[in-house]
């Protein structure tokens, strides 16, 4: 317990130091937040236009799609906010920054996470939460708890995939393109009702890369649409736990790959 508190305290201190460093480039910071809002706003504007042309999408109303979109976006922002420096892991490895991390008596992943706060994602988070609040269906207290768990679970699913793939760059592999591809799949296909996709794509997006579990499956539970899922309803209700399990697994992969880290010459 003391160790956990120490880790949290140090994470806070390092994160504050990183923020102080970033504040030296104020304009950069501002542009990041603003483009985040504009980018995500334009994404939803696209959905809005589509929905006004065709009143429903895979049987879902605009409001329901907005809720799903908001759920996915909030989960995504919640993953990127603390994990944004993972995106630059190849760079950290190549520049020998990881050596420096490994010299410190603190969990390496925590140190990497504390290198940067994804301020650009504050825009995403804002856009996501606003959508969620506008489009949320009437929920009882239990469902509200499930909704919060679903957001965290969804964030953990994305974090798990990202961490597992990033681990491979510790073995001098460049997985940036692969990760960008996975990220793209999450954002392109995670925000819409899966019913609009064909059977094979839907199956792959559920069982190969668990895109469906980030938002579509829990949103179906909250909107009482579990009947159209290709997973049984009890599994759908347990979807937040899947995020926890996948992340635990990804963390094990990370620890293993860290043993194989080869550093740089010099």
């Amino acid at each position: 317990m003391a160790e956990v508190l120490r880790t949290l305290r140090l994470y806070g201190r390092l994160q504050r130091a990183a923020a102080r460093g970033a504040l030296q480039y104020r304009l950069n910071l501002l542009i990041g937040v603003v483009t985040g809002v504009v980018y995500q706003g334009s994404g939803f504007a696209f959905v809005w236009v589509v929905m006004h042309t065709f009143p429903s999408m895979g049987g879902w109303s605009l409001r329901e799609v907005a809720f799903l979109y908001g759920l996915r976006l909030t989960a995504h922002a919640l993953y990127v906010l603390p994990f944004s420096s993972l995106i630059g892991l190849e760079w950290l490895v190549r520049e020998g920054e990881l050596d420096r991390v490994l010299l410190r008596p603190l969990n390496p992943l925590v140190q990497i996470m504390a290198k940067r706060l994804g301020v650009g994602q504050v825009g995403d988070l804002l856009a996501g939460v606003v959508l969620l609040v506008i489009a949320v269906p009437p929920l009882n207290p239990g469902m509200i708890l499930f909704c919060l768990a679903a957001v965290v679970g969804g964030a953990l699913v994305e974090a798990a995939v990202s961490l597992a793939l990033a681990s491979l760059s510790l073995r001098a592999l460049n997985t940036l393109a692969l990760r960008a591809f996975a990220d793209d799949l999450f954002s392109k296909f995670g925000s819409y009702p899966m019913g609009v996709f064909g059977g094979a794509a839907r199956w792959a997006l559920t069982f190969v890369l668990p895109v469906a579990f980030v938002a579509y499956v829990p949103a179906s539970v909250l909107l009482d649409r579990t009947g159209e899922l290709i997973v049984p309803a009890p599994v759908a209700c347990g979807s937040p736990l899947l995020g926890v399990a996948l992340f635990a697994l990804a963390y094990r992969v990370w620890r293993r790959q860290l043993r194989h880290y080869q550093s740089t010459g010099s």
């Binding site: 305290r9 201190r13 010299l103 008596p105 997985t175 880290y261 550093s263 010459g265």
Partner: protein, 308 residues
């Protein structure tokens, strides 16, 4: 304090494929390029010793240091630092060692030096009272006061290196690894760094492992050196022993009347007056001097021999 036995590190890199699906191919194929960086190195370093760890570029110096710090996991062999296996017990080991890489700063680039030092104090759980004392001592020893509040990116190389040394010793580790700490520094800064290392070792009995290309560092600080090349130990012992064992003969250098300079090797046990008499019988000598072999020429000779 430090015990290394038949330490070996083989780097295995997956062969990279190019093209759009290259990374995927690299991932699934099992083709590797192998390179042995450290090849059966053994040594022991007792507490309080300063050891120079020397070798040409690519000899395996940095790889050894990275294994000693727990950054890299050895392929084979045994390491013990203060009774711990660094790669297995990385965090505990990290608390017991200070590390300075001359080529790469450990400080927070965009923050004032004092902030970096505070963060180091936090990371190593240095209590507030001890931190204040340590900081005072570092400021006095290294003269940090003038630039304590300057962002690290604005420091000169010499100032930055002094900051790095302070960060490495702030939590009083019993062991200090220095990887080319004087690279690129001017004469005065080099002197300051050497004095700090000698002082730390004298007062705190800190064990120091120093890798460097600058033999003046070694001559100023170390009594023992370990010489490696191609991942193997070529020599381990006192500097004096090294010079006696490998020294090329002393040379008599004479300047002749016609501005010509000539050098004659003085064979071991031969008489110098006789040599001078012989040379002056044939030439008119204007000036003469006897050149003692320096450490550099000794080491050059050892590398040259290991090439063969």
């Amino acid at each position: 304090m430090i015990r290394v036995e038949s330490l070996t590190k083989v780097f295995r890199r997956p062969r990279a494929f190019s093209g759009p699906l290259g990374p995927l191919r690299t991932l699934v194929t099992r083709r590797y390029d192998e390179r042995t960086a450290v090849d059966g190195v053994s040594f022991e370093i007792p507490e309080g010793e300063i050891v120079g760890y020397l070798g040409p570029n690519g000899a395996g110096k940095s790889t050894t240091v990275k294994m000693l710090t727990g950054i890299l996991t050895p392929t084979d062999g045994l390491i013990e630092v203060g009774g711990r296996v660094p790669w297995r017990d990385r965090e505990a080991n990290a608390r017991a060692v200070g590390v300075v890489f001359g080529q790469r700063s450990q400080l927070w680039w965009d923050l004032p030096l004092i902030d970096s030092l505070r963060l180091v104090g936090d990371l190593y759980d240095v209590p507030a009272a001890r931190f204040t004392g340590s900081l005072r001592r570092m400021c006095d020893l290294l003269g940090l006061d003038d630039f304590l509040h300057t962002p690290v990116r604005q420091l000169s190389l010499g100032q930055r290196m002094r900051g790095d040394l302070a960060a490495a010793m702030l939590y009083d580790p019993p062991i200090l690894y220095l990887d080319e700490p004087t690279v690129g520094l001017d004469v005065m800064a080099k002197q300051a760094v050497r004095e700090f290392i000698a002082e730390t070792n004298r007062i705190g009995r800190t064990t120091v492992v120093l890798t460097t290309h600058d033999l003046a560092d070694v001559e100023a600080l170390c009594r023992r050196i370990i010489l490696i090349d191609k991942g193997r130990v070529l020599f381990d012992g006192g500097i004096d022993d090294l010079v006696t064992a490998y020294a090329p003969p002393r040379r008599l250098v004479v300047e002749l009347a016609d501005d010509e300079t000539r050098a004659f090797e003085i064979a071991a046990g031969s008489s110098i007056p006789e040599l001078i008499a012989r040379v002056s019988a044939e030439h008119t000598i204007r000036d003469l001097s006897i050149h003692e072999p320096d450490l550099e020429s000794v080491i050059k000779r050892i590398y040259a021999e290991s090439e063969r």
